[in-house]
């Protein structure tokens, strides 16, 4: 039948072949919908203002305009932020057992004159008051403080990662299809792992601060649980994808699931695990800083405090410290990763 039909059909002249239109009603419809969404969301998020003020700023920068909103803002901020504060000043009268003959390293005593206006209750007028006080200036006091806080954040990142690994090991075991004790546990573990990943650490830190109080514990737990979600997923996938051969051999000689996992799977997936861990440490350092902002300890908490007190000079020091830390950590983890790859290809 079909052959007959084929015979009857005359070859059509290529000039009459049906061509697909590059655009059809569906494309136009989709474009309209997208356009409406963009207009609507753009209006809500003040995109036009963003564009106009950026444009204004650009004109300002090249000298086409006297001033601009952004230009003024950044200038003001820059003026306030510079120079970065690295010293720490303390009034002598507030130091309990001050010993002028035994000053701490890199510090000296300075006279500070403060002028402020006060309402005089007798004359009922504002009067200028001159107050002179002695302060102890620690030259690098604030810098040292920032470095200490930074170190706290690094510790939070480290312990967050350790907690994540510890929590994720049983989760990975239960959420890998070929090792889970049974189906319900497998599904429960998978759901739990997704849940851990789905809760942003900033949110969980907010609640953990309520539960555990201000300080590093909340930060460690927030990072730990979130990253346990990552590790749980990655570890489980690697376990599932590991070469079955050696595992079957071990299971066939009664090694049992856990020992098989240790000897048949773990050596295979180890390099991958190290790579994940490096990646998570790297991101945890950044996140440890962020969760500090909601009170979970470390440099973030310091940053938030200074920001709220308008101490922009201090903020500047913190930002520089952040940049240096994150940058050097990036270089370090790249180095480790590289040597790992070399080791792998050996």
């Amino acid at each position: 039948m079909s052959k007959q039909k084929g015979e009857q059909e005359q070859p059509i002249n290529p000039s009459q072949w049906k061509l697909h239109q590059p655009y059809n009603a569906k494309t136009v419809g989709i474009l309209i919908v997208l356009f409406v969404i963009l207009i609507h969301t753009g209006k809500n998020t003040e995109v036009p203002r963003m564009i106009s003020s950026t444009f204004e700023w650009a004109q300002d920068l090249v000298g086409l305009k006297e001033t601009s909103e952004i230009g003024r803002g950044t200038q003001k901020l820059a003026e306030k932020m510079f120079p970065p504060v690295i010293s720490e000043r303390q009034e002598l009268s507030r130091i309990d057992d001050f010993d002028p003959d035994n000053l701490p390293l890199f510090s000296h005593v300075e006279k500070e004159v403060q002028i402020y206006k006060e309402y005089n209750t007798d004359t009922l007028e504002l009067e200028e008051v001159r107050e002179e006080k002695e302060v102890l200036v620690k030259r690098f006091g604030y810098l040292v403080h920032v470095i200490k806080k930074m170190y706290d954040s690094l510790e939070i990142a480290l312990w967050g990662t350790i907690i994540a690994i510890i929590v994720s090991i049983p989760l990975a075991y239960c959420s890998s299809a070929n090792y889970a004790p049974n189906k319900p546990i497998y599904h429960a573990a998978r759901a739990f792992v997704s849940l851990l990943r789905a809760v942003p650490e900033l949110i969980s830190a907010l609640f953990l601060v309520l539960a555990f109080g201000f300080g590093p514990v909340a930060g460690i737990l927030a990072l730990g649980f979130h990253c346990a979600g990552f590790f749980g997923k990655f570890y489980a996938e690697d376990i599932e994808n590991a070469d079955r051969g050696p595992q079957d051999v071990m299971l066939a000689v009664n090694a049992g699931k856990i020992k098989t996992l240790l000897y048949g799977v773990f050596p295979q997936v180890f390099p991958q695990y190290v790579a994940y861990t490096l990646y998570i440490v790297d991101r945890n350092v950044r996140m440890a800083i962020v969760v500090g902002i909601v009170g979970a300890g470390g440099i973030g908490m310091e940053l938030k405090g200074r920001f709220d007190m308008f101490d922009y000079g201090h903020v500047c020091t913190i930002l520089i410290a952040l940049f240096v830390t994150v940058f050097s950590l990036d270089i370090l983890s790249a180095k480790i990763r590289q040597s790992l790859i070399k080791e792998n290809n050996k």
Binding site: P246, M250, A252, V253, N254, G256, K259
Partner: protein, 241 residues
């Protein structure tokens, strides 16, 4: 002794991989399973260590019927050798051999990688007996040649003094000279321990050279069973029909 009675394995898709086989293998025999691809050799070997469950018939090993509840006990006297070695390539030779004895090592020891000293000595003896040297002990398996890797596989198979070794095409990925070397190492190890070996091969010359007994299989049925001297051209035609 291994006894198979009217053993049949039909896979879910309907293929009869093993079709009504009855067979008896004596202790210490070195049996070669000879057959073309798809004959059912792998399936037969998997049936013997319970990796595949029979659809019909029974398997009796040393008087014990292979049933799910006896599986653990039977597996403790069987070990396996594979075509693609199935070693953990990133792990050292020593650990790979010791991994064959995990059932005899406590979980705590396994976790910390502290194997009992006598077991480690035994692993050394075995590694030496398959022709490897001290310098290979802590080498990762990836850094060994194919023939050396399979010798590690043999050492692992013998670590718990199994009474039965099942070898599924142990030399399929090795070149002929090395295949001979590996098979003679396997035969020697088996003779020393009076181990029953069931070894599938697809090379006729190797089967004749190493088998004390050849079992020819084709399409899930036994088409020849006897000593290599009895294997005629006609039998070979039946096997490869």
């Amino acid at each position: 002794m291994i006894q198979l009675q009217t053993l049949t394995k039909q896979y879910p898709d309907g293929t009869f991989a093993i079709d009504d086989i009855s067979l008896e293998i004596q202790e210490g025999e070195f049996c070669v399973l000879l057959g073309p691809s798809g004959a059912g050799k792998s399936t037969l070997l998997k049936l013997l260590n319970g990796m595949v469950t029979p659809s019909k018939g029974s398997i009796t090993i040393n008087g014990k019927t292979l049933l799910p509840k006896a599986l653990k006990e039977i597996r403790s006297i069987i070990s396996t050798i594979h075509q693609n070695f199935n070693l953990v390539t990133r792990m050292s030779v020593e650990k790979n051999v010791l991994a064959g004895a995990l059932s005899k090592v406590s979980l705590l020891r396994a976790l910390f990688g502290v194997f009992p000293q006598p077991l480690r000595r035994k692993a050394c003896d075995l590694i030496a007996s398959v022709g490897l040297e001290e310098k290979h002990l802590y080498r990762r398996v990836v850094e060994l040649s194919g023939g050396q890797q399979q010798r590690v596989g043999i050492a692992r198979a013998f670590i718990l003094d199994p009474s039965i070794v099942l070898a599924d095409e142990p030399v399929a990925s090795l070149d002929p000279n090395i295949s001979r070397n590996v098979l003679s190492i396997l035969r020697n190890a088996a003779q020393r321990n009076n181990t029953t070996v069931l070894c599938s091969l697809h090379q006729v010359d190797l089967a004749k050279e190493f088998g004390e007994r050849i079992i020819g299989v084709n399409k899930g049925k036994i088409v020849f069973d006897g000593t290599p001297e009895l294997l005629t051209q006609q039998d070979l035609e039946k096997i490869y029909a």
